[in-house]
Amino acid sequence: MKKILVCLKQVPHKDARLDVRSDGSWIQDDNIKFEINDYDTYALEEALRLKDQGEAEVVVATVGPERAAQALRTALGMGADRAIHIWDDALAETDGLGIAKALAAAAKDENFDIIFTGLMSDDANCAVTGPMLAELLGIPHITAVVKTEFKNGDVEVERELEGGALEVASLPQPCLLAVQTGINEVRYASLKGIMQAKKKPLDKKDLGELGLDAAAVAPKLTVEKIFVPPKGAGAEIIEGPADEVASKLVGKIKELGLF
């Protein structure tokens, strides 16, 4: 039976209104909705499709505070078999490398055949955790995966390059695939799935249980300040009733000589 790990992150909901904290340290995230990072839902779907095809156990793991358990429950509701929830106060300020170390510690004795992650998260947009986890586990990885085909112990993938070009590459298993959005059509959790999820195992682990300590996950990358980007110098903003806006736009398009 194949063992598959999907690493996912809980991030602010894409429709949540985001504001910077008054000290600029991060966003205000006390009273907003969260969801599974979009990229990671595609990673999960890719794993669940392998499970649908035959014998496979799908394990989901996250590093995140108490609220992140909800993301794991959603993943279990979609069809994952069990979940690992890693958290420790010492992880609150960590960086991608610290997250990767925690995930690697949780994964190292499980001998997963395939690990899926999303290409990046929609909050920090770092795109580092997947390749770092692969390196720490000593397995090959590839990023921006838009197609997978599993055959004879190898995985043939298409990796997105620029301008619509794709690279076809082959990796031996075990390996880590960091998937791009759009690779598949993500399923929803069914009501039955959500009911069943309540009985599925969700293991909580802190750093000590992973054989790590605060020093091991101390961040090397630290945020000094986040802020709303300065507005583009050339952007003239117009507002008002639709008819007035439309006639201004037509005037501009005429000026450009386009009709």
Binding site: P12, L18, G96, L97, D122, D123, N125, A127, V128, P131, M132, E135, L136, P140, H141, I142, T143, A144, E158, R159, E160, L161, E162, G163, G164, A165, L166, E167, V168, A169, P172, Q180, T181, G182, K220, T222, V223, E224, I226, F227, V228, P229, K231, G232, G234, A235, E236, I237, E239, A242, V245, A246, S247, L249, V250, K252, I253, L256, L258, F259
Partner: protein
């Protein structure tokens, strides 16, 4: 005195402009500049980079580097780091750069910051600025310990244009890879080539559902004699085929007029359209990053503005 290692990139047999952007960034920071170039049969490109400001260029030349793989390139980079002990490593944030950089960071237990568009020096410490939350915010970051690794957004600054004596040195390194490259499929516009369009009207997630591309956007497209484009989330959701996608992973366009409708403006979309001659953006969120690159921005409800605009265009044309 600090030392910066630039990891150059070759694309279709030539040095990428992004590499010369790294040269400019490294030289602005001051200190020593050394470069690494990885490939097969690339001696001349090494000379070229040395003359274009790359300083001492380490050339890792090996048939195993014919195609990029993370395994092989990481070996070359680690060897160069061993030889030069740089304080800062700059890598372009391209599909190859973002693939290999975190692997090297983990191997070296080094701090990494990705997709930065600005590097400033604060005393002897670099401060990196990058986008967060898909462009909604920017953040300033610092890295403790060395080497620091940064991947830099291509096109974020001008390339270095000076010249220099430089020098070239062979870097002896193996190029073993567990990953094998089978081939590359080039893009096919598939009958929807946006690169030659004069006017493009692109829709994003703000259109809310696939039917609205036909019902709301299409009348404007027809009124203007434009072509329709789309942002990535629209294509990912299967609302429109991939050959409608404008962006770094879709088509790179430069029409006379680009109208972005209900597109917030993630960086990968901006890369595909920011060089358009004139950009009009319509979005209900006044903080949407699309307004950063727009010439004219409309903050409003697209479901009111777009039908009104289609009507006004038709009237102006006497249709």
């Amino acid at each position: 005195m600090s030392k910066t290692l630039i990891v150059g990139e070759i694309q279709q047999g030539v040095l990428r402009e992004a590499t010369l952007e790294l040269v400019a960034a490294a030289r602005e920071l001051g200190g020593d500049v050394v470069s690494l170039l990885i490939g097969n049969g690339i001696g001349e490109l090494g000379e070229e980079l040395a003359k274009q400001g790359g300083g001492k260029v380490l050339v890792a030349d090996n048939p195993g580097f014919e195609s990029y793989t993370a395994d092989a390139h990481a070996q070359a980079m680690r060897k160069a780091v061993e030889a030069e002990s740089p304080d800062l490593i700059l890598i372009s944030n391209t599909p190859n750069g973002w693939d290999v950089a975190p692997k090297v960071a983990a191997a070296l237990d080094a701090g990494i910051v990705t997709d930065v568009f600005k590097i400033e020096q604060d005393g002897d410490e670099p401060v990196f600025t990058r986008r967060l939350f898909n462009g909604k915010f920017n953040g300033r970051f610092r890295i403790s310990g060395t080497p620091r690794i940064a991947t830099v957004q291509p096109g974020a600054r001008a390339p270095y244009e000076g010249s220099d004596a430089g020098s070239v040195e062979a870097l002896d390194v193996t190029a073993a890879s567990r990953t094998k490259v089978v081939g590359v499929k080039t893009a096919e516009a598939g009958g929807h080539d946006l690169t030659k369009a004069e006017i493009i009207v692109s829709g994003g997630r703000g259109l809310a559902k696939p039917e609205n591309f036909k019902e709301v956007l299409q009348p404007l497209v027809e009124a203007l004699g434009a072509q329709m484009g789309a942002s990535r989330p629209v294509v990912d959701a299967g609302w429109l085929p991939h050959n409608y996608q404008v962006g770094s992973s879709g088509q790179i366009v430069q029409p006379k007029l680009y109208i972005a409708v209900g597109i917030s403006g993630a960086i990968q979309h901006l890369v595909g359209m920011k060089n358009s001659n004139y950009i009009i953006a319509i979005n209900k969120d006044p903080d949407a990053p699309i307004f950063e690159v727009a010439d004219l921005g409309v903050v409003g409800d697209l479901f009111e503005v777009i039908p009104a605009l289609a009507k006004a265009v038709n009237e102006a044309k006497g249709n």
